[in-house]
């Protein structure tokens, strides 16, 4: 809860709380997400604007085996309660599956150790077309020097393949001191090899688009909800997964 108050004072308008599920342990059940209203009786207002802060829930699945992906296809009610679903693939095959067929919003890129596989262009391009975003974490880079090297090398190799598109930078902060403001995170993006415009987008517009992608996934198949601004409608059309029919306006 402390972390959230610091987030808001620093200037973030939407925060997603993450649950991590690791499939190596047996009998992992998807638990219901903690509702944000339990944490805050009344949500404070964003600095600078007069809107309230949104708190979303997010699920991260660490997959090291193709059979773990079956969980995503099951109609478990609890999965639907999460706003954003992310997957953390451990092998190249799983990375390919995650980019092409799995119904997720984010693909996490490992920053704490040397990647066991190299990125290839076809699955990355397919993920970009489907509207899936790649996620990089920055908190390990702040904590430890060797992790910093892995973070930067993995991030730069990702940039070389995807040319800086569809990147989201997020923190895995466990304590309020590990958080950094949005301007600083965009500057970190410069270190990762992004250009300045891309780095700012990685903190703002890409995150927003990933959120919208999650919402289209949550709503029933084939429905595109109308948004008033025409710019957002374009984002919606790219965010609807390819296997579902998109109803165009």
């Amino acid at each position: 809860q402390n972390i959230l108050t610091v987030c808001f004072s620093v200037g973030y308008s939407v925060v997603a709380l993450n649950h991590v599920i690791d499939f190596k342990e047996k009998k992992q059940e998807i638990i219901k997400p903690v509702s944000p209203s339990e944490l805050f009786p009344s949500l404070p207002i964003v600095q600078g604007t007069s809107k309230k802060i949104k708190v979303l829930t997010r699920l991260t699945l660490i997959v090291s085996d193709p059979s773990h992906c079956n969980l995503l296809r099951s109609t478990s009610a609890n999965i639907r309660l999460y706003d954003i679903i992310a997957v953390f693939p451990k092998t190249e095959k799983l990375f390919h599956i995650a980019c092409t067929t799995l119904d997720v919003d984010l693909v996490c890129i490992n920053v704490t150790e040397k990647l066991p596989f190299y990125f290839r262009r076809p699955p990355v391009n397919m993920a970009i077309d489907r509207g899936i975003y790649f996620e990089l974490l920055y908190t390990p880079a702040i904590k430890d020097s060797t992790m910093r090297r892995y973070t930067i090398s993995n991030a730069i190799s990702l940039m070389q393949i995807c040319k800086g598109k569809n990147i989201v930078i997020s923190s895995a902060a466990e304590r309020p001191l590990e958080l950094r403001g949005p301007y600083d995170v965009a500057n970190l993006g410069l270190l990762f090899g992004l250009s300045e415009g891309e780095a700012k987008a990685a903190v703002s517009t890409n995150c927003r688009a990933a959120m919208l992608h999650g919402e289209t996934r949550k709503s029933a198949c084939g429905v595109v909800y109308t948004v008033k601004k025409p710019r957002k409608v374009e984002e919606e059309e790219t965010a609807v997964p390819a296997c579902k029919k998109a109803k165009t306006q």
Partner: protein, 161 residues
């Protein structure tokens, strides 16, 4: 016209420990930042950034800091700022982090931004105010904020906590 172009960086020091703010010194902060630059960019980065690196303004009550560096090396500085983890002063280490607020070309623009920022902070404090006296104090200082001809920005700060 040949002129040395500088970049001024507006940061705020945030930490959990309430005593940290009073103990911020410009030298300690400068050392912490140089240390972070060395860790991230190495000797080259430190050499580049310290050509004209100074801490221009420090406000211990609000925790705002104004840094100045050369325009060519301000990217190195900005990308190393997130890696500042703690401040050391008087043999005590305080964990904290810096939050960049604004980057400008001259001190005047940074001052203007600081005044706006301070007024918004005061407004926020006003909302959380419980005491009538404090409320009046804050309102008075809000009305008296303005850019004077002196180099230091004006505007009182009232701390509720």
């Amino acid at each position: 016209m040949v002129r040395f172009k500088n970049r001024d960086d507006d940061c705020e020091v945030i930490s959990e420990d309430p005593r940290c703010r009073q103990c911020i010194e410009d030298r300690a902060l400068g050392l912490a930042i140089r240390d972070a630059i060395t860790r991230v960019h190495g000797d080259y980065g430190l050499a580049c950034c310290s050509i004209s690196f100074t801490v221009k303004y420090l406000n211990a009550y609000t925790g705002t800091v104004l840094l100045r560096c050369r325009k060519d090396s301000y990217r190195l500085l900005c990308s190393a700022l997130p890696f500042v983890r703690s401040l050391e002063s008087r043999a005590q280490r305080y964990p904290c982090f810096l939050n960049t607020l604004h980057v400008g070309g001259t001190i005047r623009t940074c001052q203007k931004f600081l005044i706006q920022y301070n007024t918004t902070q005061l407004l926020r404090l006003l909302q959380n105010c419980t005491n009538e006296e404090e409320r009046q104090c804050i309102q008075k200082s809000l009305l008296s904020c303005s850019l004077t001809e002196e180099p230091s920005p004006s505007g009182d700060e009232e701390e509720d906590d």
